[in-house]
Symmetry: C2
């Protein structure tokens, strides 16, 4: 099952950090790609690519102005589209049904103003609770539920560094070219 | 079990939106309070308080310059301190042990530079995965795991509006003073 994230309505001046967190969350929770829409932001994309170079992948970030084309071709290829919104049906009720159907998932997270059309194009409009909080937390918890917590088992390829988990303090391991 | 969140090293110029998302995530996932440290940011606090006025509580946001005093008095009162960090032990291994001990939880989320002392003062240093992503997603997934998903059952008091979940579109209900 391939999972990609479509980030709508990005504005470099206001959203750079939030969108970066969306991208890094997508990667850490096993999505293969984030598709940015809204305004182009090469600096943001370079920052995310730099994380991938150091911490491993595969993971890519691409820009597509035409977000509706992204959704249409995803559905045409047999994938399903899940729009995360506080107005949607509770994730707890919806996730079990979509978890095991094997279809590729395009998870859509909005920006400031989500076009009404998104609600009708999506196969599911899903709320991680129906309270206002954050597209970053919604994405993370949705992915955690979709993966049944398997984000803790993910291995990233070609990483140059990795964390050795510690009860106290920080330990980073540098990985040389032989993978040692 | 009371849960509060301590946000370290806030910088209004850079962190306003991320810290706002931390606050709203804390509220939506059942924390009773966020304690901000770093620089004061009355505008941010007013924004969060406005969400509480409209969407309900109880939830508060307070400022404390002396974050170490917050940690010390929390521990003195019998609570435990959980520092969320990508360098820590995997949440999946740690959460079961701390979930059912009944102690109040102070969840510490860092900013740009977390003082080394935080790692030693915390009872637990916990990673929501050991990959770089976001304090917002770490907080959300940690709370989701701590609550066993009970964020979907939370009721907020004195809300003026609430979402009526929909498969398509948006529905908000305004609640009058009689609670109808």
């Amino acid at each position: 099952m391939d999972v990609k994230v479509l980030r709508l309505g990005h504005r470099p001046s206001r959203d750079a950090r939030i969108t970066t967190h969306v991208c890094l969350t997508a990667r850490a929770f096993g999505a293969s790609e984030v598709i940015l829409s809204g305004e182009e932001d090469p600096k943001l994309m370079e920052g995310v690519e730099d994380v991938v170079r150091r911490w491993g992948g595969p993971f890519s970030v691409v820009y597509r102005r035409n977000w509706q084309g992204v959704i249409d071709s995803w559905k045409k290829d047999g994938g399903e589209v899940i729009h995360l919104t506080m107005y949607g049906l509770p994730a707890r009720d919806v996730v079990p049904g979509i978890k095991d159907n094997g279809k590729d998932k395009l998870i859509v997270v909005g920006g400031a103003r989500v076009p009404g059309k998104v609600y009708s194009l999506a196969d599911y409009n899903v709320g991680v609770t129906n309270q206002p909080h954050s597209e970053v937390s919604s994405l993370a918890v949705f992915m955690h539920m979709l993966l049944d917590g398997a984000e803790f088992d993910l291995k990233f390829e070609d990483a140059r560094i990795e964390v050795i988990p510690q009860a106290r303090g920080k330990m980073l391991r540098e990985i040389d070219d032989d993978g040692d």
